[in-house]
Symmetry: C2
Subunit: 408 residues, 2 copies
């Protein structure tokens, strides 16, 4: 059966990717949790910092004892015992007394603010002059200022950055619930392919996509197994995909760029148990012959054989899928603003991903389109970013300011 | 000895970081090379693809045999044997003949272009009509189009992304020379600190910086060892730093936020062999009490104890250092454009890093400044990005368009 492709839009494909469920939760040690995605809302198990702390080096006092104090009319207070770091003060601070405190130190009972050391003049060992009036709370972090017990601190689905790791550490969360890593099996097809360790004979090329897609998947948090090279043989590909489905959450078939093999890939995907063909062709360039199917909760994806097209498609759809399986999403698509060095034509109704090389100019960045066929790898290696030419545009003009998403 | 800090500018600190040399080169397997930094210029060891390939499914021909062909006056050619993928054609293509070829297939000797299958009409098994005139080279990637033997493909110091991994695979480079990972030892100081597994007594807090800085360093490619917690004891800190120097490329001391301990850290750094104090204080906020020193080729860095300040400083200086040691650099600082929701005052002569929360608006992103003390962690956890308020600015206005560097 051969039919014209009904091309889906990028948004339609992303919505279909959203129909896959996040994977199971597992618990990992705090020091291995960075870059993973939190699997449940996390609330403060206790107050943080848990006691009133000074934010400066200075003198803990009762605010009313320094009320109105200034350079010309200092408040004269009696020196209480110095406060030690890491210890609760033994006794409350009496009125009319000031206790020496360090940044991060615990305020004694009764003290409600801190006068900075810069605003103090020791008279002798027993007396100190303070020359600044303070309000209660000045230079103090109160017991639950950073987090109040029970407050939602990190919502489910957040990627754990160094700062989230810090907050988890601060509250003693030494084990962290995250979604397990997606297991991806990569199948490369094509009679012309040889493993990259081998010297290709004339007419053969080394298998590129297994390695570049594996790197791509790992950077998106996945565990990868390479199923190796499969000849353009339907039975063999069927068997390989079926076996991959048993162990993997995502089966990637790359290649089959000839029209015949593409159809075979679709047929094989739809012959899996509980299968449904979700996408066969998407309105982007490069990457149009993209295939997405499901077999129960397993995701089957067919990527173009051309490495340029494969990586652009992976960025557009595979990464969102892998994040989705981890319960996360890409909230931002960071880039730089740049001016196009030449005009670009684009077909209406199709989203073009134009690879660009970025270079510094006097007033920002210049984006030079790399106009090489997507079958050449060098084009993608020279590319620093991609510029998206949207569906409703006929092109972009030289000198126009564009958004260049940096390729990592 | 106590002296006023001579604050350095961000550019001065970065220039000093540039005086450290990249680390040694090591060789890693291709599939572990992603995210590492190439240690030498890499030239093509052979032509790529290494033979003339078709970029379409169609018919390989001599261009002169289809010269002037069009819908109304097709060129009638004799069918040569079908070409197989992955094999060199047995015989040259005779004049007046056309050979069926698939995308990626090798052109037979004599053929110099390909007519797309869409522009062919088979007459019978022996004859085919071609209805499109082609120039030599049409729909062909020539033997050295992707890379010519000897050409510089990836310069030294480039971070290896999935596309670079692909190009290395394509040319059979199964082992890759990269800079070895920097070894970082993290020392946390402060009498108030307890390990994050323990329940702090009143006045104590858990050690946050060890874990968040470790995550930060690992994300920048480093190997990390935690030296654990060191009391505010000069002799003990001296011994810990000296031991760390023996095994590490970078020794991070975090904490010592009290004025006294900061001075001790500087004294300890400068007592190491072949030491030189490079920076003691930098004109940024937060993060002013930053310390940078060297002991021979070892780098000694003192970061503020406040986690917010520590991570901002790490982003400004530690990451550039870790990349420098790997022979790399951050070429772009990707972000998003956003409008400030409120005005921000800033001191002249100082670079302020303002944490912001990003939210979608009708016409882009809004950046809401998070105005919490840098000692609170929740502020950094709520932050999606930082907005830099430059040295020559007195502030930024509500509604102003700013550049928000996304925090990862």
């Amino acid at each position: 059966m051969k039919s014209f492709l009904t091309l889906k839009s990028v948004e339609e494909v992303l919505a279909l990717i959203g129909t896959f469920s996040p994977l199971d939760t597992e618990t990992v040690p705090l020091d291995e949790a960075a870059g993973r995605w939190l699997a449940q809302d996390w609330h403060a198990p206790e107050d943080l910092p848990g006691f009133d702390r000074s934010t400066v080096d200075g003198w803990a006092v009762h605010a009313r004892d320094v009320f109105g104090a200034q350079e010309g009319s200092p408040a004269l207070l009696e020196c209480a015992a110095d406060l030690s770091m890491g210890k609760a003060p033994d006794v409350p601070l009496e009125e009319g007394h000031a206790a020496r405190i360090l940044t991060g130190g615990m305020l004694p009972e009764g003290a409600d603010c801190v006068v900075m050391v810069e605003h103090s003049r020791p008279v002798n060992d027993e007396l100190v002059e303070l020359v600044r009036s303070q309000a209660p709370g000045d230079h103090v972090i109160f017991s639950d200022d950073d987090a109040a017990k029970g407050a939602l601190l990190i919502p489910s689905g957040r990627c754990l950055r160094p700062q989230e790791i810090g907050l988890l550490a601060a509250l003693g969360q030494v084990e962290v619930p995250v979604r397990r890593r997606p297991r991806v099996v990569i199948v490369s097809t094509g009679d012309e392919l040889v493993p990259c360790r081998e010297k290709p004979a004339p007419g053969q090329v080394r298998d590129v996509n297994s390695h570049s897609l594996a790197a791509f998947c790992r950077a998106a948090g996945a565990e990868v197994r390479l199923a190796g090279l499969v000849r353009d043989d339907t039975a063999l590909l069927h068997e390989t995909v079926a076996r991959a489905c048993e162990e993997a959450d995502v089966v990637l078939v790359s290649g089959g760029s000839s029209a015949g093999m593409r159809d075979h890939t679709v047929d094989i995907f739809t012959s899996m148990p509980e299968s449904e063909l979700l996408v066969h062709g998407v309105a982007i360039s490069p990457g149009k012959p993209f295939i997405l199917a499901r077999s129960g909760e397993k995701c089957l994806m067919g990527l173009p054989g051309h490495v340029g097209a494969a990586l652009i498609t992976a960025r557009a759809f595979l990464r969102p899928l892998l994040l989705r399986l981890q319960g996360g999403e890409e909230r931002f698509r960071p880039g730089v603003r740049a001016r196009l060095t030449r005009s670009l034509a684009s077909a209406q109704g199709r989203r073009d991903y134009v690879r660009v090389r970025l270079s510094r100019t006097e007033d920002g960045w210049a984006a030079e389109p790399i106009l090489l066929p997507s079958g050449l790898m060098s084009g993608l290696v020279h590319a620093d970013a991609v510029v998206v030419c949207p569906e409703n545009s006929e092109g972009l003009y030289a000198g126009e300011e564009v958004w260049a998403e940096v390729l990592r």
